[in-house]
Symmetry: C2
Subunit: 204 residues, 2 copies
């Protein structure tokens, strides 16, 4: 593309570094901003910089938080004995939206991926083990739920965590894998269907 | 969505004001930026503000330009006698990409749309008429091509321009409407097909 202006080109190049936005979409966004008030662009830029430079993380669960302790960790209504281990903040939001979970979280900040150069030491794993080890008597962790994506990296991370967690007297579980609610048996992939037969649930 | 942080929420709200980006995509972009270097966000924000505050327009054709006169208007290799009237910069880029047009442009900066409150006075129409009127002898405009989208607003704008341009001794034309190259006759909508029959081209 032959941009009519260096400024436009710079903006397009920076925007198209974002995932899922190509050069054409980036140009559309730039022309949209040019038509709007100057303050809108300023607000957007300020919000981005503030978000990137000032966002802090909960010292307990490593979820994004404006305070030292996040709303979930500091809530007296959450069950302190269960920790759900997730990859990132989006997973916390997704699980919170179900309104089915009342325990605490632990955000790893990624998953083990040798291809991407992410090892166990790059993740918040040590702090998880410390959290279980150093818990007060009334906050003793009884169960750790591994809620990681059912991918190779997710499974590797879950396997690593399982090994590490065996040293503690906690129940370790994982979220159920199977056919999605409303899913069609016929169109489910073989791996999922195979697993759902192996881990079948007995009627009580 | 229950955001874990006001900063994140602000950034998501500002990003999702952009066309075609919802709150979920905005959150994905925010978390992506959080994982990247701080400089990337800073560069993006700076590029956006610079683009919005410093972009200027060619004084002749109103296309985006870093200089007072854009590259196309100042090029001696372009035909000065033909002006192609378009809605915005994207259309200029699209036509330039075809490499089929060697004349000049005139960017209206929008199209007449009573619903959106855009009237003829909000567009660069007066300057187009002045351009034709005040042209030097060797730059006399001979043809004005109306290259507007074949929508109701585009047709309204074209109709308005036609009326205004009749006062000048210039040829007025519009880009051909018809079946797209490679398009399938069977699947072409009735309006396009009907128009393509009415404005059939005789073999020479």
């Amino acid at each position: 593309m032959n941009f009519p202006s260096k400024l436009i080109e710079d903006a397009v190049v920076e925007i198209s570094k974002l995932p899922g936005i190509g050069k054409k979409s980036a140009l559309r966004l730039v022309l949209h901003l040019l038509k709007r008030e100057e303050t809108q662009t300023q607000l957007l830029a300020d919000a981005l910089v503030a978000m990137r430079t000032k966002t802090s993380y909960c010292r307990k669960c490593h979820n994004i938080s404006d305070d030292e302790l996040c709303q979930i960790c500091s809530s007296p209504r959450r069950e302190q004995q269960i920790i759900c281990v997730v990859e990132d903040t989006r997973d916390v939001l997704a699980i919170e939206n179900t309104a089915q979970y009342k325990g605490l979280y632990h955000v790893l900040g990624g998953i083990i991926s040798p291809l991407m150069g992410v090892g166990p030491n790059d993740l918040n794993i040590d702090s998880l083990l410390k959290r279980i080890e150093q818990a007060d008597e009334n906050e003793k962790v009884q169960e750790v739920i591994l809620a990681l994506s059912p991918t190779m990296e997710g499974d590797t991370t879950a396997f690593y965590l399982q090994k590490k967690l065996k040293a503690f007297p906690v129940k370790i579980s994982t979220i159920a894998r199977g056919i999605p609610i409303g899913g069609d048996l016929e169109y489910t992939d073989e791996v999922t269907l195979g697993r759902s037969i192996l881990s079948r649930i007995a009627y009580e």
